[in-house]
Structures are given as structure tokens and as C-alpha cells.
Symmetry: C2
Subunit: 334 residues, 2 copies
């Protein structure tokens, strides 16, 4: 077996989501994950049990990568963790995660202890954003915004290769920017947030509302007539089957997202905005009207300077980005 020193080092990336847990091994210098596993986090299990799952999954992906590429556990430089927030980044703690039901939990140090490795923590949307900047659609950009669309809408900002975290670690919360100051209440307490219109569940809700008032759509066939079973994924599936009503719902979604993305363009003037999440399955049904709406709303010089593109890393963005945060902020290659 070759000595360490002739072998490149790796980082474990952990992406804790409201529905899925993904763990992978990522080369320290960047690149696609060498091994990757995912599991469900549904059922609101306690954080200690999830830390144990993460430990077992990390052992498995490391063994798998070592089997394929050789070397020993000392190839692992550390572990980068992405987790829904709000988080206390300084102390490495979850303050509260509504989707997981955790409160004030020292997630960073528990995972570090379990794996016997140094660890860094950042929020899930920051990690997905950083992954796309480090190894994905934002590579090489001096300024990038990531917009993550799933159960909620999150985001992150990368300036000159560093995440902008802000004074209390909550910068980049694009989902909770007001696009309609007299608009509908959002789960965060604000009114008229982008998330209240364009998150996955809200895309599904808008689709459902139209069908309830009589729009014909193959969406209903895809759920065997069960309205309550419609999710955003059903809408994307119907769209790709050519459903006209699903296309209308997506056009409306693109226009609403366009207002939020135009705000990012006028506030940050980034080189690239990367949209991450299931909604990117809609492809040009989303991106063509989204770009048109941003062009209609934002400053021409800023629009011309900005590419608006889907992420390239898919489900691995969070794991790659969590590892990338470790490399940038906490990592020592040898």
C-alpha cells in the first residue's frame, strides 16, 4: 500500500436535509464525489440517532472509496457539514431546525467526536451554493448567488471565493425577501416572501388551486385523481409530458421567481446566479421565462453581466459544498 504523501487527501461531506441525508467522500482538491450514500431523515428522529446514522454512512463511504482508490483512513482530512438553520456558526450548533425538530444541538462537535476528525458547519443552502461555485455551474466566477428551491427557498452568496455569511450567519436568505409587501403570510412570520409563492409546496398548492376550480390537466391523472397527492414533482412530470396547464403554472412560477432573482441582480450585481433544486427539472420551461422576467425588471447593465443557469451537481451539491467549506475555512491538506 502506498505511503500517505504520495496519495491525495479527501474530505467527508455531510448534507443534512429536511427529507434526505447525503454523505460522500470528496477529493480535497475538488472533483466529483468518490462515493456517495443517501438516506431518509423523515420521521423526526432525535439528533443523536442521526449523528449515529451519519457516522455509519461516513464509515461506509470512506471504506468504499478506500477499496477503490487505496490508502488508509489517514487520507481523510476532515468533515464538512451542511445543516438547515438557523445555526450558531461560531459554536457549531443548531439553534433550531423546524423540519427536523431539533433545538440547540452541538451538531458540529458531535459529528467531529464520532468520526475523530476536525469538522466545519454551515447552512445547507450555503453549502449547495458553495458546491456549485467550487465544482459546478459557478466555477471561476468572482461573484455568484445560489438560489436553492425545495421545501423552502434558500440561497447563498460567494464573493471572491468566500461565502458571505453576514453578521449573524444568516446572509443569503433570498426565500425570505418580500416581493409583495401586502402579500400572503410566510411560515417565517413575514408577509409576501418569495418562498410563500415559489417553494416546492407552494408550486404544488398553486397547481392544486387551479385544478380545484376546473382547469383540465394530466396532473390529476398522475396522482390517480387524488388532489392531496400533488407535489411540485408531479407538476414537473406533467410539464415534461406536454401538459398545458402545468406549463402555465411553471410560467407563473418563473415570473414570481423572476421578481426575486431581479432583486438579487440589482442588489449584488453578480456574474452568475445558479438555481439549484427539483424545479430545475423544468429546464427551459423555467429558465426561458425566468430570464425574460429578470430582463424586464433589473438594470440592463447588470442583466447583461449575469448568467442565470441551473446547477450542475444535482443532489451532490450540498455534499461537495460542505466539503468545500471545510477545505476553504477549516482545511489543512496535510
Amino acid at each position: 500500500m502506498p505511503e500517505l504523501g504520495t496519495l491525495r487527501r479527501w474530505v467527508i461531506g455531510v448534507d443534512i436535509g429536511g427529507t434526505n441525508l447525503v454523505v460522500g467522500v470528496v477529493p480535497f482538491e475538488g472533483g466529483a464525489p468518490l462515493s456517495l450514500r443517501s438516506a431518509s431523515t423523515e420521521g423526526k428522529r432525535g439528533p443523536d440517532a442521526v449523528v449515529e446514522d451519519i457516522g455509519a454512512m461516513a464509515d461506509a463511504v470512506v471504506d468504499e472509496a478506500l477499496d477503490r482508490h487505496g490508502g488508509g483512513r489517514d487520507r481523510i482530512a476532515g468533515v464538512g457539514i451542511g445543516c438547515p438553520g438557523p445555526l450558531d456558526l461560531v459554536r457549531g450548533r443548531v439553534i433550531v431546525t423546524p423540519n427536523l425538530g431539533w433545538n440547540d444541538y452541538p451538531i458540529r462537535d458531535r459529528i467531529a467526536e464520532r468520526l475523530g476528525l476536525r469538522a466545519t458547519l454551515d447552512n445547507d443552502a450555503n453549502c449547495a451554493t458553495y458546491g456549485e461555485w467550487w465544482q459546478g455551474a459557478g466555477r471561476g466566477a468572482r461573484s455568484m448567488a445560489g438560489v436553492t428551491i425545495g421545501t423552502g427557498i434558500g440561497g447563498g452568496l460567494v464573493l471572491e471565493g468566500r461565502l458571505l455569511r453576514g453578521a449573524s450567519g444568516t446572509a443569503g436568505e433570498f426565500g425570505h425577501t418580500t416581493i409583495d409587501f401586502t402579500g400572503r403570510r410566510c411560515a417565517c412570520g413575514n408577509y409576501g416572501c418569495l418562498e410563500a409563492y415559489a417553494s416546492g409546496p407552494n408550486i404544488a398548492a398553486r397547481a392544486r388551486e387551479g385544478i380545484e376550480v376546473g382547469y383540465e390537466s394530466s396532473i390529476l391523472d398522475l396522482v390517480d385523481g387524488d388532489l392531496s397527492a400533488i407535489t411540485a414533482l408531479t407538476v414537473y412530470d406533467a410539464l415534461l409530458l406536454g401538459d398545458r396547464y402545468a406549463r402555465e403554472v411553471m410560467l407563473e412560477t418563473a415570473r414570481i421567481l423572476g421578481a426575486g432573482v431581479a432583486n438579487i441582480v440589482n442588489m449584488f450585481n453578480p456574474e452568475v446566479i445558479v438555481v439549484v433544486g427539483g424545479v430545475t427539472r423544468a429546464g427551459e420551461h423555467l429558465f426561458t421565462p425566468l430570464r425574460a422576467e429578470v430582463k424586464r425588471r433589473a438594470f440592463p447593465t447588470a442583466v447583461r453581466a449575469c448568467r442565470i443557469v441551473p446547477g450542475e451537481l444535482g443532489q451532490a451539491a450540498g455534499v461537495v459544498g460542505a466539503a468545500g467549506v471545510f477545505v476553504t475555512d477549516g482545511g489543512v491538506a496535510e
Copy 2:
């Protein structure tokens, strides 16, 4: 007369506004202007004539400062210029300034030639923001947003002591963020911009509309019954005289601004937001409901981390900031 080398150096700051031109001498190390003059820019004179005015005003303020403090013209390290945009920062040109009627004009180099000094250029709102960070209400903050409220609403972002300019020099355009995506058309072409509700002229327009439909107010007395003469300053004057309707108009303004400022809080999570412009004359009639609205809308941890305060430099913010930009980006002290 003492030799240069024992004397501290100075920078000329130039703040070109849609209605006023302000020129001053600022110590290289920072501090209040040593001398300051202002003149009107109304009447849409050509840029060459304005450059000549700037030259004459600069000569006058330099002579005044030298008379008081001694030394010769070699005390002047250079000139920092703030100008409404959009600008081409790399080439130092005005692309177009609607309020001044200028198009594609090499303002930076013309002023540099006239004064025989090196010059830097940035937009007026960035300069006012930078002035408040360098010498005003944002001193010492690692992250600050400036919101400038006048004829329009502009702004800027300072991170770790540097202005965030963005990919094409237009970052920080808070006035042109959408707070109502189906809302009123803005002069920029977008719909529902913050500026379309809360700029000086729009504050006046909202006050006028209420009086037209019968609200009683001393605002009308202040303009001798001439509705068309109402400006935002009239509203602030009436407010300070205890006028109840003016207070309602300001409360509404604070709530609308609160939605825009909450977006800044959730996107950037800055340590401080400095509000600059005539509207700050409303004092706590503005700031108390503004802070309450931001608290109602933005993330609690981000709200707690952020002070929302009026600027401290008044009309000198732009001149001080323009000089500060020269010091930071273009300046060599000796």
C-alpha cells in the same frame, strides 16, 4: 512655511448630484472636511461647463484650506468623484445620467486634467455610503449597507472596508428592488420598486393624494394652499410642527421602507444599516416605526445583529466618501 512631509496630505472630494454640486477638502487620514462649497446643478448645463465649475470650486476650497492650515498645492494627493450613474467605472465615464442629461462622458479624466491630479470615480450613493462607513455612523462595522433617500433611492454595501461594486458596478441598487411584484411602474422600467413608493417625490405625491381627497393638514398652509408646491421637505416640516396627517404619511413611509430594509437584512445580514438623506429629518417619527417593521419582517437573529441608524455626515457624506474611495482605491499618501 513648513516643508511637505511634515504636513499631512489632503484629498478633494466632489459630489455631483441631480440638484447640488458639493466640493470639499478632506484629510487623507479622514475627518471632517476642512472646507466645503456647494452650488446648484439645475438647468441641465452641459458636462464641460460643470467640469469648469468643479475646477473653480476645487481651487477655491483648496485655497481656503491652505489659508487656514498652511502648505502648498502639493498637499493635495488627488480627487475622488461621486456622480449619479449608471457609470462605467473601469473607463471612468458617465454612461447616462437622466437627472443631468449627460451621455457617455469621460467625467473622471476631464476633472483629473482640469485639476492636474489623479482621480477616482464611483456612483453618488456608493460614495455617501462609504463616507458614512469611513467617518460617520458606520465606523468600525465589518459589514454595512447604506440607503440613500432623495430624488431617488440608492444605496451601497461595504464589506470588510471595501465597497461591493458587483460585476458591472451597479451593486447596492436597493431603490430598484421589487417590494410589490404587481405594483406601480417605476421610472427604471420595473414594477413595484421601493423607490416608486418611498423616494422624496413619492413621499410628496402620497401626501398630496391624501390632501386632495380631503385630509386636513398644516402641509397645505406651509405651501400657501398650492398643492403642486408640496415636497418631501414640506412633509417633514409639518411633521416637526406636530401635524397629524404628516405623521400618518411618515408612518406609511416607514412601513414601506421597512419592507425594503428587511430585504437588505435577510439578504446581507449587515452589522449596520445607515439611512442617509432628507428623510432622516423626520427622526424618530421615521426610525421607530421603521425598526418595528423590520423586526416584524426579518429574521430575529439578523435583526438583533443589525443597528438601523441615521447618517451622521449630512450633506458632506458624498464628499467625504468620494475622498475616502480615492484613499482606499487610488490613493498614495506620499
